[in-house]
């Protein structure tokens, strides 16, 4: 979503990355990816649990783009090192949530497998409905 940060901010909203691990681990990971928006570390994965983001099994995580040649090139060494962080769960699946200023969940995507990432256009369209 980094490439769409300007579009998000133009809508009066913000992006926040939530990573597994400590704040320092999250900082290292996001810095390595060139993320310029806030990136926080959730060592206990409390937010993942609160949003009921599921854990997968081997089948769900082996479709991860990380395991493809292109994925490895794209993510680079920093991400690989980060993947070995002691506070991460390889089976935790990702997700995206949009929350408005009143604290209401307006849109939620729980990934069914590790490559199930919603397209930016879908996130921006959902955001349009929130800020309209």
């Amino acid at each position: 979503m980094q490439r769409h940060l300007t579009e998000v901010e133009a809508r009066g909203a913000q992006l926040v990355a939530v990573a597994q691990g400590t704040a320092a681990e999250a900082d290292r990971f996001c810095h390595g990816l060139g993320v310029t928006y806030p990136c926080v570390g959730d060592r206990e994965r409390a937010s993942y649990g609160a949003f009921a983001l599921p854990r997968g099994g081997w089948k769900e995580i082996l479709v991860d783009p990380l395991f493809s040649r292109d994925g490895l090139k794209r993510l680079g060494g920093a991400s690989i090192r980060g993947s070995l962080a002691p506070h991460s769960d390889w089976f935790q699946l990702p997700g995206v949530a949009i929350v408005d200023r009143a604290g209401t969940v307006r849109w939620l995507h729980r990934s069914r497998h590790s490559a199930d990432i919603p397209p930016a256009a879908a996130v921006l369209a959902a955001l349009d409905a929130v800020v309209a």
Binding site: A23, P38, S47, S88, V96, V99, T104
Partner: protein
Amino acid sequence: MSAVGPGDAAPDAVFADAAGRPRHLSDFWRARPTVFLFLRHFG
């Protein structure tokens, strides 16, 4: 209890920031509508 979904109050999870202070998800959404990107294992 059913899982949280659109229209529900967002869970206000808490975790520690770099200084060890508690940080709430609501710290973000109270300022602006927020897109939370929950990452995989790389963090």
